[in-house]
């Protein structure tokens, strides 16, 4: 029975792999649920702050925040790339990074300079490999996104925008549509578009305390941060569901491979038995 031992070991190893992928699938499924909850939990804040920002952008205030002013000439562009820290999640990171790199090539041919903020390990090492100008990065976010860890990296971009180093900021992330479907998305973060804010009802202005400039500054920064935070939360939900789907198909594949190998193994076993019998019969015929 030549080769049957090898096949047996192979089956064993595929079975072990399948156990791992199955476990990862289940872990991803439970994490996905939590990630989706978090994504939903971040919505009320985003909605409220958007409403307030909408009021502010249309209110009769003499102060216009730089985030709201469109610049005529765009020379330098900022890009925030969101990716996962870990791999084994299907085409999630590949899609986002491909989209980013294509867009970056277009910008480069237009003669624009690009500054990058990378959130997530995969995107960070990819951008480094591509020798992109990485201004800031966040890695090792874990399963729960925290505003605290994001602020620094985002502020680098916002400061660059305020000081005029860059004229536009884009964000590239994976939009969560449902468990089976996630889409890489590229959106313009700054300047904040008026259409996205929507129009408020009525024209009135707030009483500002302590003064308009301070409050508007604070609000606009918070608003931008909340947009990024939302994107991060959505990206995480996408990551988990994408991983779940990838691991599920890996488990299914392993099952198929095991079935195939078992067939081969049984064939080899039967061939060996047949051979043995025919040898015995042949031997007996020669004796008699």
């Amino acid at each position: 029975m030549a080769g049957s031992k090898e096949i047996r070991t192979k089956i064993k190893s595929v079975e072990n792999t399948r156990k791992i992928t199955k476990a990862m699938e289940m872990v991803a499924a439970s994490k996905m649920r939590k990630a989706q909850d978090r994504m939903r939990a971040s919505r009320p804040y985003a909605e409220k702050i958007r409403n307030v920002a909408a009021h502010l952008s249309f209110a009769n205030s003499e102060y216009k925040h730089p985030f709201l002013i469109k610049r005529d000439v765009v020379k330098n562009v900022g890009l925030i790339v969101l990716s996962s820290d870990k791999g084994l999640c299907g085409g999630l990171n590949t899609n986002v990074l491909r989209m980013s790199i294509n867009q970056m090539k277009t910008w480069e041919t237009e003669g624009k300079k690009i500054a990058v903020t990378a959130i997530g390990n995969k995107g960070f090492s990819f951008m480094n490999r591509m020798s992109a100008d990485v201004k800031s990065h966040v890695i090792g976010l874990g399963d729960v996104p925290h505003m605290e860890t994001l602020i620094g990296a985002i502020k680098v971009m916002l400061d660059a925008y305020t000081s005029g180093e860059i004229d536009q900021v884009y964000i590239c992330y994976t939009k969560f549509i449902n468990t089976m479907k996630q889409e890489p998305t590229m959106e313009m973060l700054l300047p904040l578009s008026g259409e996205k804010l929507g129009s408020p009802n009525g024209s009135w202005d707030y009483i500002y305390e302590p003064d308009a400039v301070l409050v508007i500054d604070q609000l606009m920064t918070r608003y931008t941060e909340s947009l990024v935070y939302n994107a991060v939360a959505e990206n995480m939900a996408s990551e988990q569901s994408s991983r779940m789907v990838a691991m599920k198909s890996a488990s299914d594949n392993a099952k198929e491979v095991i079935a195939d190998l078992k067939l081969v193994y049984n064939k080899a076993r039967q061939a060996a038995i047949t051979k043995e019998i025919s040898e015995i019969v042949g031997g007996a015929a020669a004796v008699s």
Binding site: K48, I49, N128, M147, G152, I207, E209, V264
Partner: protein, 141 residues
């Protein structure tokens, strides 16, 4: 409906409180502000402290501690946008500086990263080759 105002307390990471209030006291930067229903539109930043909400249908008041954030008041609605992180101009500045330095450091150490990435790429290539061989072997069986 009695004289009440809707109040929402939200932070970026979670929704904290939502309900009808008769009277709200918030720690604004310029001092505590008390807000009754039908207050004129106002927006102010708030400092760390206690937010006290007198509910419409309860005797005692709800007290929520918030680090800082923004308070928006409209005649029929109060929104508290609370920060989840402890904020401050200097703190933010320090965080941005740290992020910048980390990026610089990473730029310098790019070679080691490259080596790692290269090794990873080679490994995945080798794995693909092994898989291909495996397939071929299976077919010939």
């Amino acid at each position: 409906m009695a004289n009440t105002v809707h109040i929402d307390v939200v932070s970026a990471e979670a929704s904290i409180f939502s309900g009808e209030a008769e009277f709200v006291v918030a720690p604004a930067v310029a001092g505590e502000v008390g807000i009754y229903p039908n207050h004129a539109p106002m927006i102010t930043s708030i400092k760390p402290g206690a937010l006290r909400i007198q509910l419409a249908d309860a005797a005692e008041e709800v007290v929520i501690f918030i680090s800082s954030g923004l308070l928006e008041v409209q005649p029929g609605m109060i929104t508290v946008l609370a920060d989840t992180a402890i904020r401050g101009h200097d703190l933010d500045e320090a965080k941005a500086k740290a992020a910048k330095e980390a990026a610089m450091e990473a730029m310098k150490n790019r070679t080691s990263d490259m080596d790692y990435a290269k090794a990873q790429a080679e490994l995945s290539e080798a794995m693909a080759q092994i898989q291909a061989i495996e397939r071929l072997r299976k077919k010939t069986h």
